[in-house]
C-alpha cells in the first residue's frame, strides 16, 4: 500500500486512483472493485453504475476541471482529489480554495499527481489535508519540514481565515 501524508501524519492508503488510459472511454471503462477514486468524467458518464457498487468512493478532478459541477453531489464522495498533471500547473490551488471556501467541502481533500515537497506548504494553505507525494520522493523528509517552512503568512487562506493585518491589529 502506498504511504501518503494525511492530517499531518504518514498513513498507509488503501485508495486506488482510476485513470483513463489511451483508448479508454469514460462511458465504458470497467469500474474496478474496492476503494476507488473515480475521475470526474467517469462519474459523469457512469453515475448510476458507480452508485450501484454501494461502497464508498472518491472523486478526482483534473487541473482543468472546476468545482462548480460537483458541489451538488458532495454527499456521495468519501474524498475529493485534485490532480496536478505537472507541478507547475497551478490551477488546482484555486480549485481547492473554491471547494473549501465557496462550496463548503469539509471532507478529505487530496493532492495527487506531480506533488512535490516544495508545493506542500501552499497546498495546505489552500485547503488540502492529504497529500500523495510523487512516487520515489522523500516523503519522510517532506513531512518533517515542508509544512512548517513559514510560521506566519500575510494572506488570508483556508488554513488561516484572517490576513495578518487583521490578526496583529487585534
Amino acid at each position: 500500500m502506498a504511504r501518503i501524508i494525511k492530517q499531518g501524519a504518514l498513513v498507509d492508503d488503501p485508495w486506488q486512483i482510476l485513470a483513463l488510459n489511451e483508448g479508454d472511454l469514460a462511458e465504458t471503462v470497467p469500474l474496478p472493485t474496492g476503494p476507488v477514486i473515480f475521475p470526474f468524467d467517469v462519474w459523469q458518464a457512469q453515475r448510476e453504475a458507480v452508485l450501484a457498487r454501494d461502497i464508498p468512493f472518491g472523486l478526482w478532478l483534473d487541473s482543468h476541471q472546476g468545482p462548480e459541477e460537483i458541489a451538488v453531489d458532495f454527499g456521495h464522495f468519501a474524498l475529493i482529489a485534485i490532480n496536478f498533471p505537472k507541478f507547475v500547473d497551478g490551477r488546482g490551488y484555486s480549485t481547492a480554495r473554491l471547494l473549501r471556501s465557496r462550496f463548503g467541502w469539509m471532507g478529505e481533500l487530496r493532492a495527487i499527481g506531480d506533488v512535490l515537497h516544495d508545493q506542500l506548504f501552499y497546498m495546505k494553505r489552500c485547503g488540502f489535508n492529504s497529500f500523495a507525494l510523487k512516487a520515489g520522493k522523500d516523503i519522510d523528509g517532506a513531512l518533517a519540514t515542508a509544512f512548517t517552512t513559514w510560521q506566519d503568512n500575510y494572506q488570508a487562506a483556508v488554513d488561516q481565515k484572517q490576513p495578518l493585518f487583521r490578526r496583529s491589529a487585534a
Binding site: Y93, Y122, R125, W150
Partner: protein, 565 residues
C-alpha cells in the same frame, strides 16, 4: 520607508532557509534540474550564458543607504564588483555562484531585502514612479499601497504557479511614469468623489512579443477593495489563462480572447464572493503602513534660486546638469536629483560597488539616507536642498554619476542582451555604446533635445523598445544579429507602441541609421519641437525615405521563437 517588524523578518528569513535547503536537495540530486528550476526562479536565480544571474528585488524602487552599501558588499564579495539595475526595480548580479546564493540571500535579509518572486510564473515585484511622495503632480502617494500589495503577493499560496509571470504597477500622479498601461495589472490612484483614494484598474497590458496596451476593467474601485479585486483577477487568470503555449499564456491573451467586457464580467462575478471578506483592507492597516512613508524632516530652505542662478551662470557644465538631472519637488527649496547610470562607454544601468558606496554617501549627506531606482535605470535622490546641489554635483561628477543626459538620446534603456542573456537574439550593449560614442559631444546631444531610445536584445522586450520614440530590437536573421527599428512609441498617459519602419539593419549600420533619423528631425523641426513632436507632425515617411535611401525595402524579418523564463 517601510521597516520590517518581527513577522516580516521571520518570513524573509524562513525563505532564506528554505532556499538553502532547496539548493542542498538539488545538489544531492533529490530535486531534478527541472524541479529545481521554478524554485530557483522564484528566488530570482537564472542560469545564464556565463554564470547564474541573481535578480534582487528593490520593492517599488526604494532603497536606504544601508541597503545600498550591503548591495555593494555583495557585489564585491560574491560578484565582479558591479551590478545592473533593470527596468523593473531590480538589481541583477551577473556572476554569482549558485552555492553562494543562500548566503547572499541571508545578507540581504539582514537589511530587509530579498529576491523573492523576482522571476518565475508568479506575482513579481510591484513597481511605481521614482518620484513617489515628492512629485508636484502627485495626487496620492502610491507607496503605502504598493507595500501592502507587496506583502499580499509575497508567498501568496494560490498564485505561485500561474500560467506566466504577472506584473503589477501602481501610479498616483496625473502624468503616468510607471508604464501602468503596459502591465498585467496597472493601477491609477485617484481621489474619488468621497475624497478617499480610488483605483482605476487596468488589465492585460504588456510589452513582450505581443505588445498590447491594457484596458480598463474597472474605472473606480475604493482602496479597501484592492486586494480582493486583485485576487478575483488573478483567480480568473489562474483558472482560465492558457497553459498550452508559453507565448500565449500572459493575461493579455486571455483578455483579448474573452474581450474586456466578458473578462470584466467574470472578474466582477468572482469578486462578488470576495468583496468585503477578510482581505478587505482596514483603515488601521492603511494608517500603519502609511506612517512609514511620511515626509522626511524638511527644513525651511532659504530662497536658494538666486544662488542657483548665480552658480549656473558661472559654470556651464553645472547648468547643463541642473537642466537635465534635477526635477521639481513639491516642497519649496528642494529638488529631486537623477544620478545618471548612462555614462558614455558604460552599459546602461550598470553600477560599480564603489559607485554604490558613493551614492549611499550622497544619500546620507543630502537626501535623508534614501534613494530610488527608476525604470529608466537611473538613481534618484528625491529630497535634496537646492542649496546643496552644487556640492552634490561635484561629488557625483567625481564618481561618474553626473552625466547630464537624463531624457536625452544617450539616456537609453538597454537590456543586458547577448552579452549576458541566454534568450537574446542580438547584443544590445555594444549598440548602446556605439550610439553613445557617436553623440559624445554634449552640445550636439543638447541640441537634439528630449528623445527616448530603448534597446531590447529580443522580443521579450526587457528594454521596453516598444514605448520608445526610437526603439531598437535585436532580431535573428539567418543566424546573424540584426536590428529592427520602430518609431513613435511613447510612455505616459498617451502611451503608444512604436511602428516598425522597415527591414532591419546590421550592427555596423545602426549608428548611421540613428544619425539619419535625427538628421531628418533637425532638418524639419520647428522651433521648440522635440523629436516626437516633429515625427507626429510630418509622419514617419520622411524618416523612412532617408534611412532607406538607395536600399531595397523588403518585408520585415520574422523574429525567432524564444521566450524569457
Amino acid at each position: 520607508m517601510y521597516r520590517y517588524n518581527p513577522v516580516d523578518h521571520a518570513i524573509v528569513r524562513a525563505r532564506v532557509e528554505q532556499f538553502r535547503d532547496q539548493v542542498a536537495r538539488w545538489q544531492t540530486g533529490e530535486l531534478t534540474p527541472e524541479e529545481f528550476r521554478p524554485l530557483r526562479l522564484q528566488n530570482g536565480l537564472y542560469v545564464q550564458r556565463h554564470a547564474p544571474m541573481l535578480r534582487i528585488a528593490v520593492p517599488y524602487g526604494l532603497l536606504s543607504s544601508t541597503q545600498l552599501r550591503k548591495l555593494a558588499f555583495i557585489a564585491r564579495t560574491y560578484d565582479k564588483g558591479y551590478g545592473h539595475f533593470s527596468t523593473r526595480h531590480n538589481l541583477q548580479l551577473n556572476w554569482p555562484k549558485i552555492e553562494d546564493c543562500p548566503d547572499i540571500l541571508a545578507h540581504l535579509a539582514d537589511v530587509e531585502m530579498h529576491a523573492i518572486q523576482t522571476s518565475g510564473n508568479c506575482i513579481r515585484n510591484v513597481t511605481t514612479d521614482q518620484f513617489a511622495g515628492v512629485a508636484p503632480d502627485e495626487i496620492i502617494d502610491p507607496r503605502p499601497l504598493a507595500e501592502i500589495i507587496r506583502q499580499w503577493s509575497t508567498f501568496h499560496p494560490e498564485f505561485a504557479f500561474l500560467p506566466r509571470k504577472f506584473k503589477i504597477a501602481i501610479s498616483g500622479t496625473a502624468d503616468d511614469r510607471a508604464l501602468t498601461w503596459f502591465h498585467d495589472i496597472g493601477l491609477h490612484l485617484n481621489a474619488g468623489m468621497d475624497g478617499q483614494p480610488h483605483f482605476r484598474v487596468i488589465v492585460g497590458g504588456g510589452l513582450g512579443r505581443t505588445p498590447i496596451r491594457g484596458q480598463i476593467v474597472r474605472e473606480s474601485l475604493e482602496w479597501q477593495h484592492i486586494l480582493t479585486y486583485c485576487e478575483a483577477i488573478l483567480r480568473v487568470y489562474n483558472r482560465y489563462g492558457r497553459r498550452d503555449n508559453p507565448f500565449k499564456a500572459r493575461i493579455k491573451i486571455l483578455v483579448q480572447a474573452l474581450g474586456i467586457e466578458e473578462f470584466a464580467r467574470q472578474v466582477e462575478e468572482e469578486w462578488l464572493h470576495l468583496k468585503n471578506g477578510p482581505s478587505t483592507l482596514t483603515q488601521a492597516e492603511f494608517d500603519r503602513v502609511s506612517t512609514f512613508f511620511t515626509a522626511p524632516a524638511y527644513s525651511p530652505q532659504a530662497d536658494s534660486d538666486e544662488l542657483l542662478d548665480h552658480q549656473t551662470l558661472a559654470d556651464k557644465a553645472f547648468a547643463r546638469w541642473i537642466a537635465r538631472c534635477t526635477h521639481p519637488h513639491k516642497i519649496a527649496g528642494y529638488a529631486a536629483v537623477t544620478l545618471s547610470l548612462k555614462k558614455h562607454g558604460q552599459a546602461p544601468g550598470d553600477i560599480t560597488a564603489d559607485q554604490m558606496d558613493a551614492v549611499a554617501d550622497l544619500a546620507d549627506r543630502y537626501s535623508f539616507g534614501e534613494l530610488r531606482i527608476s525604470h529608466e535605470q537611473n538613481i534618484v535622490l528625491a529630497d535634496v536642498p537646492k542649496a546643496d546641489l552644487y556640492e552634490l554635483w561635484q561629488v557625483a561628477k567625481a564618481a561618474g554619476l553626473a552625466t547630464p543626459n537624463i531624457g536625452l538620446l544617450t539616456d537609453m534603456i538597454c537590456c543586458p542582451g547577448g552579452d549576458f542573456c541566454d534568450l537574446a537574439n542580438a547584443k544590445s550593449i555594444p549598440i548602446a555604446n556605439a550610439i553613445q560614442a557617436r553623440y559624445d559631444d554634449l552640445d550636439h546631444l543638447f541640441d537634439v533635445g528630449d528623445l527616448e531610445l530603448n534597446i531590447s536584445g529580443c522580443m521579450n522586450s526587457c528594454g521596453h523598445h516598444h514605448v520608445a520614440h526610437i526603439g531598437i530590437l535585436g532580431v535573428d536573421k539567418n543566424d546573424a544579429e540584426f536590428y529592427q527599428v520602430t518609431l513613435g512609441g511613447r510612455q505616459g498617459n498617451n502611451a503608444q507602441l512604436g511602428k516598425v519602419i522597415g527591414p532591419s539593419f546590421s550592427a555596423q549600420e545602426m549608428p548611421d541609421v540613428i544619425e539619419k533619423l535625427i538628421g531628418v528631425y533637425i532638418e524639419h523641426r520647428h522651433a521648440d519641437e522635440t523629436f516626437l513632436d516633429t515625427l507626429d507632425r510630418i509622419g514617419a515617411e520622411p524618416f523612412k525615405d532617408k534611412v532607406y535611401e538607395g536600399k531595397v525595402r523588403r518585408g520585415k524579418p520574422a523574429p525567432t521563437e524564444k521566450e524569457a523564463a
